[in-house]
């Protein structure tokens, strides 16, 4: 029942998984 390394909630000092913020939304179509 003990999660192995790399699993579970990030501990103190560890960043949450990065969410891609860019590029932004496409308003019409991609050229």
């Amino acid at each position: 029942g003990v999660p192995g390394p790399g699993l579970g909630v990030p501990g103190p000092g560890l960043a949450a998984p990065a969410i891609p913020l860019c590029p932004g939304r496409i308003r019409y179509f991609k050229v």
């Binding site: 590029p23 932004g24 019409y28 179509f29 991609k30 050229v31």
Partner: protein, 283 residues
């Protein structure tokens, strides 16, 4: 002993906000407006996508938004007073043109002021157009001899329609030729002059009327050894004078008329040239 509280920590010198953040979008829209008001040829562009953004603190006040953004060409010429929000984006089948811009925008007192912009435009690839439309016309250079001929023919036909002014060519804005090359599609800008078309002997002596523009679309088709030309122009600006048919040149549709004698060399056969509706003055 009393001591002052420690000063607040300085803001981080750099941040990377979301590309769809409202402030980032406002900075991008300010940049689009700047780009459109600083080029005098071709068409207005509209925002398609914000690719990257980084925000720097500016001392003593403000922030600088450094953006990379993609724009798309619309059907509104930059001299066309139509608001950008009412302009239609060119579709892929029209051989769309994209603009890539690097811009810097200062945000100060909630105002966005563009400090610099550098853009490059490029057409979509012919392969991309052919994927969705194998027989669609593709963009060609504006100095192509077929393009120049099509514009000359269309303008001559337009001038032969007894407008109150003789119109001069200002620029050729767009040109496409279909794969089979039997027709040439052109878009160009014309300006009325102080010359009457009937009395016009020397075009070089005619002076352009200020702040009046006509935006023309024409197709020249080779047919049975001759040529058909169909052209329509939308004219913005003050009325140069009443039309011979009694209708003002700024109200109602201009009556479609067949080619006159002067137009015959360029309008060999086919349907009459049609002059598009003239809109009310906007300047």
């Amino acid at each position: 002993a009393w001591s002052a509280p420690p000063p607040p920590p300085p803001p981080p010198p750099v941040r990377d906000p979301n590309c769809d953040d409202p402030d980032v979008e406002q900075a991008a829209l300010a940049a689009v407006q700047y780009v459109n008001s600083n080029h005098r040829h071709g068409y207005k562009y509209t925002l398609n996508q914000i690719d990257k953004v980084r925000v720097y603190q500016r001392r003593p006040l403000g922030e600088v938004y450094v953006l990379e953004m993609d724009l798309l060409e619309t059907t509104c010429h930059v001299l066309d007073p139509t608001p950008l929000k009412n302009c239609i984006v060119r579709q892929v089948i029209e051989h769309a043109v994209e603009g890539d811009c690097d811009v810097s925008v200062l945000k100060l007192d909630n105002q966005f002021v563009v400090s610099n912009a550098k853009c490059e435009s490029s057409p979509d690839s012919a392969e991309d157009v052919r994927k969705v439309c194998p027989n669609c016309a593709l963009l060609v250079p504006l100095n192509d001899t077929k393009v120049l001929h099509a514009v000359d023919a269309a303008l001559a036909a337009f001038n032969a329609q007894n407008h109150s002014s003789y119109f001069k060519l200002l620029e050729i804005s767009r040109a496409q030729i279909a794969p089979l090359q039997s027709s040439v599609y052109v878009e160009f800008v014309v300006v009325p002059t102080d010359c009457a078309p009937k009395d016009m002997a020397d075009p070089a002596a005619c002076n352009l009327l200020a702040d009046q523009y006509g935006f023309c679309k024409a197709t020249l088709t080779e047919k049975d050894g001759g040529e058909d030309v169909a052209a329509s122009c939308t004219v913005f600006g003050a009325a140069p004078g009443p039309q011979p048919d009694g209708a003002g040149s700024t109200v109602g549709p201009t009556v479609a008329a067949g080619p006159t004698e002067a137009a015959r060399p360029v309008v060999a056969t086919g349907p009459p040239v049609v002059a598009g509706p003239a809109r009310p003055p906007v300047f």
